[in-house]
């Protein structure tokens, strides 16, 4: 999952980015409104974390502009403004959720997960595909009752494919949602991770979950 953070407080961005990356998210950062608007419109993010008080262009304006431009990415407003009116105008401008500083990191993660879930067909924090269960809150993956140990990247790939199950996902789409825009896109990396996942999940079972669609990409069927 790829998160765009538009926030001008560098110290805050640093730690959020670190925490999110440890959770397996790919994180892009914009430190001002202008960059934020550009990235929101052009980077394929799964969720946008948007501060309201920003240099150059404020968060509220960015939100209105990207919604008008047809960007449907869920937006979590992150702000120091805490009046009811601020919340209302934020939500009315097209924000999907609103988090007031100072916030707890766990709550921040939970809200991000809820926003990502809302955007997919998954409604609970546990995704079940056949014998495979993925807890997106704890990152616990079970396969036929047994715990499967995955690296952060492997987990992210599996979660993304599970959230978008039964959809054809190209190598570009996968890498775009798993890596931030600083990453040198080399689709071979995706193949490597797909192989590792297959080794940990599909090996030894008759019913395969991960399917290769020649020339198009991969799909998690179930």
């Amino acid at each position: 999952m790829r998160v765009l953070i538009v926030e001008d407080e560098k110290a805050l961005v640093d730690i959020i980015k670190k925490g999110l990356e440890e959770e397996g998210y790919a994180v892009d950062v914009a430190y001002n409104g202008e960059d934020g608007l550009f990235m929101a419109e052009n980077e394929p993010s799964d969720v946008i974390v948007l501060d309201i008080m920003l240099p150059v262009i404020d968060g509220m304006t960015i939100l209105k502009k990207i919604r008008r431009a047809g960007v449907k990415t869920p937006v979590l407003m992150l702000t120091a403004k805490d009046t009811v009116m601020d919340k209302v105008s934020g939500l009315d401008s097209g924000a999907d959720d609103y988090l007031i500083k100072p916030f707890h990191f766990e709550e921040f993660l939970a809200r991000l997960r809820a926003l990502i879930r809302r955007d997919s067909e998954v409604n609970t924090s546990v995704i079940e595909i056949g014998d495979l269960t993925i807890n997106i809150a704890t990152h616990e993956v079970r396969w036929g009752g047994k715990n499967v140990l995955l690296s952060a990247r492997e987990y992210s790939l599996l979660e993304y494919m599970a959230v978008n199950r039964n959809k054809v996902l190209s190598r570009t789409m996968l890498s775009e949602h798993l890596y931030d825009h600083d990453f040198d896109l080399d689709s071979n990396v995706i193949d490597v991770f797909i192989n590792r996942l297959r080794n940990k999940i599909d090996r030894g079972f008759d019913k395969k979950l991960i399917h290769t669609l020649r020339g198009a990409g991969y799909m998690l069927k179930g």
Partner: protein
């Protein structure tokens, strides 16, 4: 009102008594002349008294409707003659009284005025009388003349009633007049007081409307308004402080919370913990700076701040400021060039001006390029001492120039955060300069640098000394 009542009552009593005296005096003098007239008609010898009353004279006393009466007694009290008008009654007599006297009596149930006129017997004993007066004379006549004063009494009573009613009427009229005038005069005061009652924490901006208030009360109303103005200002300042503080403290608090929570999610290396603690420390430091500067600015903004205005040499303050900032400037290898002409004097508070120049020069160093330079010059123009601080730093975009004096405004926080700026320095400067009756002008071009001009009041005469 009570005083008015007393004055009117005294006046009324005086009028009544004066009229009473006039009326009785005229009656009394009439009675006396009657008595004297009767006396001329009396002749008394040693044993006999002769009355030479003619019918014309007696007619007046004997008619049934007569309102005048007479009666003649001897000194021992025996009645020798009396008018028919008295009918069965006698005029009262008190033995012992031997002088002419007037009294008011009740005759047949009607008030009357009476005179007792004494005529001593002269015959034969005249010589003995000398020096001993009437009293020594055992013989003589008393002519008692009386007149019905029912009418006069009634007149006096009517007069008393009219007078009392008049006083009462005047009292009522003046009381209601006073009440109406007072009510009219007090209405605006009541309105003012109602307005003041209405003013509370939530609508401190409400004021007494000056148009509807009479001129006499305008000073009162405007002083109320001024009081509430300053109350509102200080209240707003407190509210602004609370809002600013909570807003600005939220971000470093988020950093501290996130740092500790993310770090505690799993085991970390010592290096990671060290970095986290450093970040937490910086956030806490930021918070303490914010709190300190907010308090400074709130104190400066309060009306009660007392400036010790004196004549100050701007060169001295500037070189003191530069000296304080030399370590910071050396760290960034920024050169500071100061040129201040002699014999310039500004009017200001030494401590406040030092804070002002330290803040501005501090900014000029922070936002300067490494190995950049700062030029500080002072000139005099139209009574103002203008200090120009020019840096060759990153500059401020034109769109932000108008807002840099606002609290917490930072042009680009992601950049200046490293410089530990909290966006309060310039607004503190602004407050200080405003308190001195001056102003700050800023010119800037991104990439070229910023020129800050501080206008402070100069001291004309002192400059020559």
């Amino acid at each position: 009102m009570v005083v008015l009542f007393i004055v009117l009552s005294l006046l009324g009593a005086f009028l009544y008594l004066s009229l009473d005296e006039i009326v009785y005096n005229s009656i009394d003098s009439g009675l006396l002349s009657r008595a004297k007239a009767l006396a001329t008609l009396v002749n008394e010898n040693d044993n006999e008294t002769e009355f030479n009353f003619s019918d014309e004279v007696m007619w007046e006393y004997n008619s049934p409707k007569a309102s005048v009466f007479f009666q003649i007694r001897r000194f021992d009290g025996t009645i020798t003659e009396k008018s028919e008008s008295l009918r069965g009654s006698d005029l009262p007599f008190q033995t012992g009284e031997k002088q002419m006297n007037f009294e008011t009596i009740l005759l047949n149930g009607v008030p009357a005025r009476m005179v007792n006129f004494y005529i001593p017997y002269n015959g034969g004993t005249k010589g003995k009388e000398t020096g001993k007066g009437i009293k020594s004379n055992r013989r003589g006549l008393i002519i008692q003349c009386a007149e019905d004063i029912d009418e006069q009494t009634e007149l006096m009573q009517n007069y008393l009633i009219v007078l009392s009613l008049s006083i009462l009427f005047v009292m009522i009229i003046s009381a209601s007049g006073v009440f109406l005038i007072a009510k009219k005069a007090l209405t605006p005061i009541k309105e003012i007081s109602e307005t003041i009652d209405r003013i509370s924490e939530s609508n401190l901006s409400e004021r007494v409307t000056m148009e509807e208030i009479p001129d006499e009360l305008k000073p009162l109303a405007s002083s109320f308004n001024r009081t509430f103005d300053s109350l509102e200002r200080s209240f707003n300042r407190q509210r602004q402080f609370a809002a600013d503080a909570s807003h600005e403290l939220r971000t470093p608090l988020s950093v501290i919370l996130s740092q500790s929570e993310v770090m505690l999610r799993k085991e970390r290396t010592a290096e990671e913990y060290k970095n986290a603690l450093k970040a937490v420390g910086e956030a806490a430091d930021m918070m303490s700076q914010i709190v300190r500067k907010l308090l400074t600015i709130t104190r400066l903004g309060a009306d009660k701040v007392e400036l010790k205005i004196e004549n100050i040499d701007p060169g001295e303050i500037i070189s003191e400021s530069v000296k304080l900032l030399t370590p910071l400037a050396e760290q960034k290898a920024v050169g500071i060039n100061v040129s201040v002409p002699d014999r310039l004097v500004v009017r200001g508070d030494r401590a406040a001006l030092l804070e002002l120049f330290v803040n501005i020069i501090d900014n000029a160093i922070k936002y300067n390029l490494p190995q950049g330079r700062i030029d500080i010059s002072v000139k005099k123009e139209k009574g103002f001492i203008i200090t120009e601080i020019k840096d060759a730093g990153i500059g401020i975009p034109e769109s932000d120039l108008g807002r840099v004096l606002d609290r917490f405004y930072r042009v680009d926080k992601s950049r200046s955060r490293d410089l530990l700026g909290v966006g309060l320095g310039l607004s503190i400067c602004d407050e200080i300069v405003k308190l001195h009756g001056g102003r700050i002008d800023m010119k800037s071009r991104p990439g070229t640098g910023t020129l800050v001009s501080v206008h402070l009041k100069g001291a004309e005469d002192a400059a020559q000394a």
